[in-house]
């Protein structure tokens, strides 16, 4: 049982191998019977391992020396500490539920086996990412989840928009990963190893006061490494300015959005920053950048989400916004709070996506919330679970999101300095979050159905395989937060912040004390959340015309928000167009056409003309070849004899 944790990544990999090799011919629409047991057993092993970790057993060992080249040596190994344990819970649980959900959602799709194979591969990659004990394995998992994300966004590759979205996600991530790769190089250059243990242990000593010259400026090494690593996190977690791929990623199947683009992969950035906290903590500047990026992104994405009509895009922008919260927490040094939010977010955001998928399933694939309405009576399970998720994300007390969001805002406020600014931004974002969440909720589930009679006829609750995961996640969205009660409640009840205490060994002991200010902060954020819900209710339930009226009153604001601040257009203008121009006018004509093609064609042409002359020698007669061979042996021996003396024989 000591090595049971090896099964956690191994089983999904096995499932992937079986499905991808036998899927097309043998398994076909039975692929889930391979994939789900694999993930279920993996989940069970993960739960066992988490229990072990809770009991104090930290796994940290190498299994296999992967690369040895001079002084460079990387091994494949596992580090399972408290942080990894939290991620294991999130990843395996959500993955398992999404797998089950997909059997209903993807039924009848011709790529059924392929879908499950990719899901398994993704689960494997994500687990390798979170369980690794060195930066290169982390990087491997990092790129592998990106690859799976690419596969799954472009799952319906016949659709051009899906294929384009896949490419976009891949290319945008390259920008971030470029920085991340450089960061890993810097770490190796500085520390001479890529293992977490030695790197983090020696980081304070090695990095203290060290600077490097960069573009004529002296930059602290810790800041440089942190920011490079953060580049990767920005790309993977869709923060400003690399957020553009995530909304487009909604072209993929909805279970994929739930698993990859809400609960697990996009949180890899947060995980990585939290994992590297010993490095980040050394650089106040980097921390400020992280916090500000998070806060600005949180507000920015929330504003866009206000006006969108595509149900999945709204949730996607909400994801970006919530990820911003997590970075905000990391930026003020509250890694535990960030991970806590990651953990609760996984439940309610996966629930939102799966609920949206359930709605889409019922609406024959219709995504526009303006064409929905009144779904409450058709889909009760979806309705109630969606409500739970919305309350949770809005931060209503008692629901999971409340505890984590509240903790983040309190940590930001209590940090002082820039933290106060972050708190203001965060609170504003919380208001918007509550508003857009309930806008979506009211538009979809309340009022009258606006999609026409024929569509209304088809409305139905989703099958068991889909509602069951919804119910489970719904319970999670309500209850998952209770493991991390804030001190002022916890003290009253006589329990401490279990979650914080659990993660304390990783992030250092942060003393928790009930402060009077916290009740005030909590009160503000609860009030803000309720205000947001009330506005939404006013505009979309009580006075349905109010929204349109507001839109006509502020056309410029609406236009900017509707077009997502023109970020895509900007990138198109700055990067894509010039790139195409260069490619068409310079690369295609000059460098590729003349230089490379000249070489590429010239070499075979030279060989061809030489061969034309040489092939006279090839008579097709066996004995001629033999004679030439024998003659050459003769020549070699003769030469050896003649030069015997000179060769020192």
């Amino acid at each position: 049982m000591d090595h049971l944790y090896l099964l956690i990544p191994a089983l999904p990999l096995l499932g992937f191998i079986i499905n991808i090799t036998l899927g097309r011919g043998l398994i076909k629409d039975k692929a889930h019977l391979v994939a789900i047991p694999a993930v279920f057993l993996s989940w069970a092993a993960a739960m066992y391992t988490v229990a072990q970790v809770a009991g104090g057993t930290i796994v940290s060992r190498d299994f296999y020396t992967w690369i040895v080249s001079g002084g460079f040596s990387v091994s494949a190994g596992f580090l399972i500490d408290q942080l990894t344990a939290v991620m294991l819970v999130v990843v395996t649980t959500v993955s398992l539920l999404v797998h089950i959900y997909s059997t209903g959602y993807m039924r009848g799709d011709k790529g059924f086996y392929r879908f499950f194979a990719y899901l398994n591969l993704f689960t494997f990659s994500m687990l390798m990412l979170i369980m690794s004990n060195n930066f290169l394995q982390l990087y491997f998992g990092w790129e592998a989840v990106g690859l799976c994300s690419y596969f799954l966004i472009g799952f319906w590759y016949e659709k051009k928009s899906a294929a384009d979205a896949g490419k976009k996600a891949f290319i945008v991530n390259r920008f971030g990963d470029f920085g991340f790769g450089l960061g890993v190089f810097m770490i190796f250059l500085t520390f001479g190893t890529l293992h977490y243990g030695p790197v983090f242990q020696s980081a304070p000593g090695v990095l203290a006061g060290k600077t490097v010259m960069l573009f004529g400026q002296s930059v602290p090494l810790a800041t440089l490494i942190s920011l490079l690593l953060f580049c990767g996190a920005v790309g993977k977690s869709a923060q400003l300015p690399l957020h553009v791929w995530l909304p487009d990623a909604m072209e993929g199947p909805t279970p994929v959005s739930a698993l990859i683009h809400a609960a697990t992969m996009v949180t890899a950035g947060v995980f990585m920053v939290a994992r590297c906290n010993p490095i980040f903590s050394l650089s106040p500047l980097a921390m400020a950048v992280v916090g500000l990026t998070g806060a600005v992104t949180a507000l920015f994405a929330a504003t866009i989400a206000l006006v969108q009509n595509d149900i999945k895009r709204i949730i996607a922008y909400s994801t970006i916004s919530q990820l911003g919260y997590m970075f905000l927490a990391c930026g003020v040094g509250a890694y535990g709070a960030g991970i806590f939010h990651l953990y609760t977010h996984a439940f309610f955001k996966a629930l939102l996506f799966l609920g949206a998928g359930s709605v889409m399933h019922s609406m024959q694939g219709e995504l526009d919330v303006q064409k929905m309405g009144g779904l409450k009576k058709y889909m009760p399970v979806t309705y109630w679970t969606f409500l739970a998720a919305s309350l949770s994300i809005s931060g209503i007390p008692g629901f999971a999101g409340f505890f984590s969001k509240d903790e983040i805002l309190w940590k930001a406020y209590s940090a002082g300095g820039i933290g106060t600014l972050l708190w203001v931004l965060g609170t504003l974002a919380a208001l918007l979050t509550a508003f857009y969440s309930f806008r979506l909720f009211f538009l979809a589930f309340h009022g009258k159905f606006r999609g026409g009679h024929e569509l209304e006829h088809h409305l139905h609750e989703s099958p068991k395989s889909m509602t069951m995961p919804l119910t489970i996640l719904g319970m999670g969205a309500v209850a998952a937060g209770w493991v991390g009660l804030p001190p002022f409640i916890g003290n009253a009840l006589g329990v401490s912040n279990t979650f914080g205490a659990f993660l304390a060994p990783v992030f250092g002991n942060i003393t928790e004390s009930a402060a009077s200010g916290e009740i005030m902060i909590t009160g503000i954020s609860v009030a803000v959340a309720l205000l947001g819900i009330l506005i939404a209710a006013y505009m979309y339930v009580w006075k349905p015309g109010a929204a349109t009226a507001l839109k006509e009153k502020l056309p410029a604001v609406h236009k900017v928000l509707w077009n997502k601040y023109y970020v895509d257009e900007l990138y198109n203008f700055i990067i894509v167009k010039p790139a195409f121009w260069t490619a068409r006018n310079f690369i295609a004509g000059t460098s590729d056409g003349k230089v490379i093609e000249g070489v590429v064609n010239g070499v075979p042409r030279a060989i061809d003309s030489f061969g034309r002359k040489l092939r006279k020698l090839q008579t097709g007669m066996l004995q001629d070849y033999a004679a030439i061979m024998a003659f050459c042996i003769f020549a070699f021996i003769a030469a050896a004899l003649v030069f015997w003396k000179t060769m020192g024989g």
Binding site: Q623, A627, A630, F631, I633, F634, I637, A638, L641
Partner: protein
């Protein structure tokens, strides 16, 4: 080995093989080579390799050359009917062979024996050649032995596939 015996064997081997490679009739050539192989087997016995001598006769004379004869019969090559028995460039081949021989003889003057092994003729005689060969073959040389069995299997399959007729 007695020099007189060696002289006879060497002369016979060379003469028989020369006669064989220049013979017009393939059947005669094969028969001459069989006789040559017998002399070779005697040479092996003189060198203390009695098992190899038996194998030489059984495999070479008993199997391989029977196969040659068999093919000659199947193809019914009575004599080399199509004109010359030597190719048009035979002087070239002859000169290469002679040149190589000259070089090799010059080089052979440089032959120096290396370190001596443990298997003196007395050791081999005490335990019989077959037994000692078997022990070494099935212990130190087990992998080559297995590989050679694979080669034989491939040869069997290949020969059947190549020579078998399509219609069946």
């Amino acid at each position: 080995m007695n020099p007189i015996v060696f002289g006879y064997l060497a002369a016979a081997i060379l003469l028989l093989s020369l006669l064989a490679v220049t013979n017009k009739n393939p059947v005669h050539a094969i028969l001459l080579v069989i006789v040559m192989f017998f002399h070779m087997a005697v040479m092996y016995i003189g060198l203390g390799a009695e098992f190899l001598a038996a194998v030489q006769v059984i495999v070479y004379a008993g199997a391989i050359l029977v196969l040659f004869l068999f093919v000659v019969f199947v193809l019914n090559i009575r004599e080399e009917t199509g004109g010359e028995r030597f190719s048009s460039v035979w002087p070239f081949g002859l000169s290469i062979a002679t040149g190589l021989l000259l070089l090799a003889v010059i080089l052979s003057g440089k032959v120096r024996l290396g370190a001596m092994g443990p298997y003196t003729p007395q050791v081999i005689a005490a335990e019989t050649h077959t037994k000692i060969l078997g022990r070494v073959l099935y212990t130190d040389y087990i992998l080559p032995f297995e590989i050679s069995s694979l080669i034989l299997l491939v040869a069997v399959v290949g020969a059947i596939t190549l020579a078998g007729r399509e219609d069946r």
